[in-house]
């Protein structure tokens, strides 16, 4: 009886394996679907909406793997490093281009762009540089600029317009309350609102990026660093960082950011990134928030703080230094390990069309196609459109090296140690950062 049962079981297993083996390939070949990987946020929902047109036109179903920002890099870099085929298309962070290109995770798109006459001249120069090329600024394209983004600010326009608040501000600071043009003004305004009671509730100045785990505090403090004229290395001598990363102006910028954090953020705002800042702003806790432009369409539509309640501005300046904005945004790449590369390229071809790009902007995505951003209607199409263009023309990004993850984690640690945990001095934090970065570059033979 037992033997008979075992025989039947073995036969069943064999048959299952045999049938699966013979049918798997044709099933895969007939599978007209793509999986697109990205972060889980408002623009991803807009893209889902937009891609319905692609499915309608081509019959290719779209599946999505959207992961929260805090796990986004961990999740997808692990998939790419293990050469997994989870994603056919990936909207990867700008800093991943070095990894994607040098370790063969991404398909090089030059030939495809030539064949399909997709010219990079049709996209904003800063977007092409940051979202598509590796090595930077060369004609080697690994992605199509998909989502322009930069750090900006949202403020409570309704509070800023109240006569009694304006009067108090002018009395205290000696100038009119308005959109901060300099970092000092930003601090003044934040300080003014900190602890102030408005409509019977205690309010705070500004929600800054302070997150420790992924990239938050780096994306925050670099706004100040760039404004003070920070350089990652000697412009004439790659990877020589002494005197640049820890320059006096860099020290001053980091100190300023710490002061801003200490004076003017809500209590407990010590591990905050995009969502925490959104929550602080939408709940009426703060007068201003630092956040990526990608969230601004959502804020504009919000019942409580949307419409005329909120206004938008770009990073203020410091002294005579040019304006700079921290780069967000991503390009869309075809994953080398996908067995549906043809369909993935078809998607990119479809996505690059001006009409699709216009619809992308209208749905809440940030197109960087010149047919959209240079159109006469663009600047008036949303209250933040003009600011977005200003920000995109002044973007700066973190290291885009293949070792960016290690460089980023060192920055997270050193900056959080000083700014939030109050450990050491700004100079020590930057000196230690140079030591960490040198070690990283040495380990890959670049220093």
């Amino acid at each position: 009886m037992v033997r008979r049962f075992a025989a039947v079981l073995a036969a069943g297993l064999f048959a299952t394996v045999a049938v699966a083996g013979t049918t798997a390939e044709p099933a895969r070949a007939q599978d007209k679907s793509l999986t697109l990987c990205w972060a889980s946020w408002d623009p991803a929902n807009a893209l889902r909406q937009l891609s319905k047109d692609f499915t309608e036109e081509t019959g290719i179903e779209m599946n999505y793997e959207f992961v929260p920002w805090t796990n986004y890099a961990d999740r997808f870099l692990t998939v790419l490093n293990s050469q997994g085929d989870l994603c056919d298309l990936i909207i990867g962070d700008s800093q991943w281009l070095g990894i994607g290109a040098e370790f063969g995770h991404y398909v090089k798109l030059n030939d495809f762009f030539s064949e399909e006459e997709i010219s990079m001249d049709r996209f904003l120069d800063a977007a092409v540089y940051n979202y598509a090329t590796w090595p930077k600024g060369t004609d080697n394209y690994w992605a199509l600029p998909a989502m322009g983004d930069a750090v900006g600010y949202v403020y409570r326009k309704d509070w800023f317009q109240r006569p009694e608040i304006r009067k108090s501000f002018e009395q205290e600071y000696g100038y009119e309350l308005g959109v901060p043009k300099t970092w000092q003004e930003l601090m003044d305004v934040a300080q003014f609102f900190q602890g102030r009671t408005i409509d019977g509730k205690k309010r705070y100045g500004i929600a800054l990026y302070t997150e420790r785990g992924s990239e938050g505090i780096t994306m925050g403090v670099t706004n100040a660093l760039y404004a003070w004229g920070f350089e990652y290395d000697d412009p004439n001598n790659d990877y020589r960082m002494d005197g640049y990363v820890n320059s006096d102006k860099a020290v001053e910028a980091v100190k300023f950011y710490k002061k801003l954090y200490e004076c003017c953020t809500p209590p407990g705002h010590s591990n905050a990134y995009m969502t925490a800042n959104l929550d602080a702003y939408k709940s009426g806790q703060v007068a201003m928030q630092m956040n990526f432009f990608a969230f601004f369409p959502g804020i504009h539509k919000n019942d409580r703080v949307g419409g005329d309640t909120s206004g938008y501005f770009v990073n203020p300046t410091h002294g005579d230094k040019p304006r700079a904005s921290v780069l967000g945004g991503q390009g869309i790449s075809v994953v080398k390990y996908s067995d549906k590369q043809d369909m993935a390229l078809e998607y990119i071809k479809w996505f690059a069309q001006p009409e699709v790009q216009k619809r992308w902007w209208k749905l809440g995505g940030y197109s960087v196609h010149k047919a959209v951003v240079n159109a006469p209607w663009f600047k008036d199409s949303a209250p933040f459109a003009s600011e977005f263009l200003t920000a995109m023309s002044t973007v700066r990004d973190f290291w885009q090296e293949p070792t960016y993850a290690q460089l980023l984690q060192s920055t997270q640690k050193r900056m959080h140690d000083y700014i939030v945990a109050d450990k050491g001095t700004a100079k020590e934090a930057l000196d230690n950062l140079i030591t960490d970065w040198k070690f990283t570059f040495q380990s890959v033979g670049k220093y």
Binding site: Q83, K413, V420, A421
Partner: protein, 316 residues
């Protein structure tokens, strides 16, 4: 009581006979037993032993999992030397020791106290035990997430309670480098004290009542009974609970990741948070593998010493 006796053939069928070994299609009992165990052994080799051996090998290389083309070199004990000379590693180990030490001390005192109270017979004792045990049934990640709300300075109940008893004003537990390590200890204590309580309670209930009766006859005070009967009898249970909890605390990750992500700065960067960062954020795979080996040896060694001590206590 029914007595069961097995006759010789039956004993032989069970493999315990002394006569000629029973054979199944040419296989000896020993071989048959081996084949039964083989799948488990293979599974153990595949998912435990091989990864351990592979990890040890990686710890002597410069391997980086995110750089497929990067040449893998044998670097000898370089990773270990770097680890032992790294301030960050020692800081992470100190944070871990602080967390494990204080969490264990507080949980043992509270767990023992609760068990002592609940060991008395009263109406609703079962319900009390169930309610107290609820936190440890939750997921650590969930606990970490909702305690971030409890610690929220403006709307969290923790600040409210503290201010109710002592007017200290607005303060942040998770954003202050001095308070954040204590926040971890507090949450872990809230969650896991019931575990110690349950094990100690089992110990208390296993103490024969006649020992106390005999002690009373001999005129021993309650205090003396506690130290000469209760504590020695419960100690093996308590030590077992401490062993399990210490290992758990040592490898704690998810709750910390949700509560503080190792911050502010690196104030709550426990060993496992540091390990995860090295392995999957900075992708220094060889270095992280070496740290994993050090952690393994530390916990394994400490647990072995502890178990030997526990065995002695149990045999006393």
């Amino acid at each position: 009581m029914t007595q069961v006796s097995l006759k010789a053939p039956a004993i032989r069928r069970l493999g315990g006979g002394t006569g000629p070994r029973q054979r199944v299609r040419g296989l000896s009992d020993r071989a048959l037993a081996f084949y039964f165990v083989l799948p488990s052994l293979l599974l153990l080799l595949a998912i435990n032993i091989f990864p351990l051996a592979w990890n040890i090998y990686l710890s002597f290389t410069n391997y980086r999992a995110n750089m497929p083309g990067f040449p893998v070199r044998w670097v000898g004990d370089l990773n270990y030397a770097r680890l032992l000379g790294s301030e960050d590693v020692w800081a992470a180990m100190q944070h871990t020791a602080h967390f494990v030490g204080w969490a264990m001390l507080i949980q043992v005192i509270l767990g023992f106290g609760l068990a002592w109270l609940l060991n008395r017979k009263f109406k609703g004792a079962g319900l009390f035990i169930t309610l107290i045990a609820l936190p440890m049934m939750l997921s650590k990640a969930v606990v970490g997430t909702f305690w971030t709300y409890i610690f929220q300075p403006q709307s969290g109940i923790f600040n409210y309670i503290v201010n109710f008893f002592a007017d200290v004003g607005e303060f942040t537990m998770l954003g202050n480098a001095d308070l954040a390590p204590w926040a971890l200890i507090l949450v872990d204590t809230w969650m896991w004290t019931p575990f110690i309580m349950l094990i100690v309670l089992a110990g208390l209930r296993s103490v024969p009542q006649d020992l106390y009766e005999a002690a009373e006859v001999d005129g021993a005070s309650s205090w003396r009974q506690f130290w000469t009967i209760t504590v020695p009898m419960v100690l093996p249970f308590l030590m077992l609970a401490v062993l399990f909890r210490s290992i758990e605390c040592f490898k704690l990750f998810d709750m910390v990741a949700e509560l503080t992500s190792g911050g502010p700065g690196s104030a709550t960067e426990l060993a496992n948070i540091f390990l995860k960062r090295q392995a999957f954020e900075t992708w220094r795979t060889g270095y992280a593998a070496a740290f994993a080996v050090i952690l393994f040896v530390t916990t394994f060694g400490a647990a072995n010493i502890y178990v030997k001590f526990w065995t002695k206590v149990k045999e006393r």
